[in-house]
């Protein structure tokens, strides 16, 4: 089961869950993914220490995709 999670005030919220053999769930996840990006979130797939990739299309084979806000100098 793959998950799309958004970091927010609750800790994190699971926005979508899908498996590759469930096309409707994949489609729903893609729609949710695009909506979150339009709301200003960045999507990141962590690949272990020192490695992460920012993605603009939902990588449906990733087990976990995390939505984060932009950062700025304080």
């Amino acid at each position: 089961m793959s998950r799309l999670v958004r970091m927010d005030a609750t800790g994190h919220t699971t926005v979508a869950e899908w498996t590759l053999d469930d096309p409707p769930a994949v489609e729903a996840a893609v729609r949710a993914f695009r909506a979150e990006l339009e709301n200003g979130y960045f999507a990141v797939v962590s690949e272990g220490e020192g490695q992460a990739e920012q993605v603009r299309e939902l990588p449906v084979d990733a087990s976990l995709v995390i939505l984060r806000r932009p950062i700025a100098g304080g």
Binding site: M7, G11, S46, G48, E49, R68, R69, I71, G73, G74
Partner: protein, 202 residues
């Protein structure tokens, strides 16, 4: 941040040297004035002493500003923080995970050095472990629990380390020991761990 040159190994070296030169420029005149005053007019020794205190205080104030980047912003132990801490724990390896639990700071090895990430700032221990760069950098959402703020910085750092160091505002660059003295005990432990890893990379 198109107006700011992108961070690189060479640029960080240059920035460190400029920072040291700036500190020396601010400090040395007070020391020289103190010595000259004492030699020419010994009766002004108290004034010389004040000048020396001033010379000592300047780098201390800079280091204090740098250490503030790792200070926790607020104590949050509610349900949201527990959920966020679980996600942050999933993102880091076993060793750094234990360090996060003990100190509230995430340790991450990068190409530019070893990073310590807090809620509203990051500290980069340069290879060799002697110099640190302190950065003010944070996620622009005050409602997030502390661990989520750290996770934001961690993911941004992993995605683009040079970009991360470019966006962040440098608040101090100098000796690690100077910053260490200004940190609380848990942060000192994290800084020591980062220093040990940075020395191994040298």
């Amino acid at each position: 941040m198109h107006w700011r040159p992108r961070a690189s190994e060479q640029r960080l070296l240059r920035t460190g040297r400029l920072w040291t030169a700036s500190t020396v420029t601010h400090t040395v005149p007070f020391v020289v004035a103190a010595v000259v005053l004492t030699v020419l007019l010994p009766v002004l020794a108290p004034v010389s002493l004040l000048l020396l205190v001033h010379a000592w205080a300047i780098p201390e104030l800079y280091a204090s500003r740098g250490a503030k980047v790792l200070r926790p912003r607020r104590g949050e132990s509610g349900q949201a923080e527990q959920v966020a801490a679980g996600l942050l724990g999933d993102l880091v390896d076993h060793g750094p995970r234990e360090l996060v639990a003990r100190t509230g700071l995430a340790l991450e090895r990068g190409r530019l050095g070893v990073w310590l990430l807090g809620e509203a700032g990051a500290l980069l221990v340069r290879p060799g472990g002697r110099r640190v760069n302190c950065y003010c950098v944070k996620v622009l959402d005050a409602s997030l629990p502390p661990s989520d703020r750290i996770a934001h910085l961690l993911l941004a750092l992993r995605t683009d380390e040079a970009g991360f160091a470019t966006v962040a505002n440098l608040s101090f660059s100098g000796a690690r020991w100077r910053v260490r003295r200004r940190l609380a005990a848990p942060a000192r432990e994290a800084l020591d761990a980062a220093g040990a890893q940075a020395r191994r990379r040298c």
